[in-house]
Symmetry: C2
Subunit: 199 residues, 2 copies
């Protein structure tokens, strides 16, 4: 009995080791070195599945309005760096973007689970803000089809979201990157360096 | 040996049960019913330790700039609903707020770990955006002392952050609440109902 209990217990630990906190996360690539700036930024975007998408609020007199959204930059391990979204105009974020495209997407390393004991605000726990324009993609365009596959692969639940809720595909056209992944302030990284990096 | 191994293994499981995915989280209160709107909103704010704080960017020509921050609304199980922050003007968020107080704090239920298998964008996985003014507290005021205790209790690492980095305490003066915690769009909730709710 003791022996069986031990084996069972070890199996549970083994299983926990795989599952851990990974529910809904697709962490398949190890974290790059902190000084490999483009690699780190692309890793942070590709490995995360959600973030806060910020727009300028119509209803709240120009306040910066953040909303929790899911995104995808490609199918797993083939990220492009460009975040795509599946948004409905029933929600203020899409409505705001159609009026004023100014936007940012903020992502934390914290929910990935690779920050050790660091506080979420610590510079050692990476954070990235991609600022630019939130653009509606033309339905049935090549890019919209690519984006839909990227989104539905990472977020299978989206396939079943109500067809009459006017979900459409948007992307963030990145114009500026703010990333902190260690002490010493934001890392210098151009949009070109970020987008051209090959994973 | 087997027996010792089993006991050790059970102890590890027991320890994992407490720690689990809870590193840095202070989840001590069960989730309220979805229709108890004020209770749910206060729970979401009190149980979470970080979010995205959005300001209007000075450097990025008025773009909505989200930054990952830690916050606290009180010592554990005594939340006030008012989020306090420990921010440095080395960082754009505090600099932006000193120029334009318009701000919002966005928090997801997802990292708390109570969304089951729901996607982070699903209305079943709650999200809240508190919009208002990001205000610098007067140093050594009664409220600043309260806030510092609330912050340092929830985020012990903050105590050791560099004294010469000009960290100061800010609060969000809430003017509007946007919360989705089920199907059917945002739940009606006034700031007064939210703040007066007794935990």
């Amino acid at each position: 009995m003791e022996s069986k209990g031990f084996v069972y217990c070890v199996l549970v630990l083994f299983f926990l080791g795989f599952q851990g906190c990974a529910d809904g996360r697709l962490l398949t690539e190890p974290k790059p070195d902190k000084d490999a700036v483009a690699a780190y930024a692309r890793w942070l975007v590709s490995q995360n599945s959600w973030g806060t998408l910020n727009t300028i609020s119509i209803e709240l007199k120009g306040s910066p309005f953040g909303n929790v959204v899911s995104f995808s930059d490609g199918v797993p391990n083939k990220g492009t760096g460009v975040p795509y979204f599946y948004l409905t105009t029933l929600d203020p974020t899409a409505r705001n973007a159609l009026k004023d495209q100014k936007s940012s997407l903020t992502i934390s390393e914290y929910p990935i689970g690779t920050c050790g004991n660091a506080d979420p605000e610590s510079p050692v726990c990476a954070k990235i803000t991609l600022t630019g324009k939130l653009v509606l993609l033309e339905a049935n365009s090549k890019e919209a089809k690519f984006a839909q596959t990227a989104l539905f692969t990472k977020h299978p639940e989206m396939k079943g979201w109500p067809k009459n809720h006017d979900f459409q595909i948007f992307k963030l056209e990145i114009e500026d990157i703010f990333m902190i992944n260690w002490f010493g302030g934001p890392k210098p990284l151009t949009v070109d360096e970020y987008l051209k990096y090959k994973t």
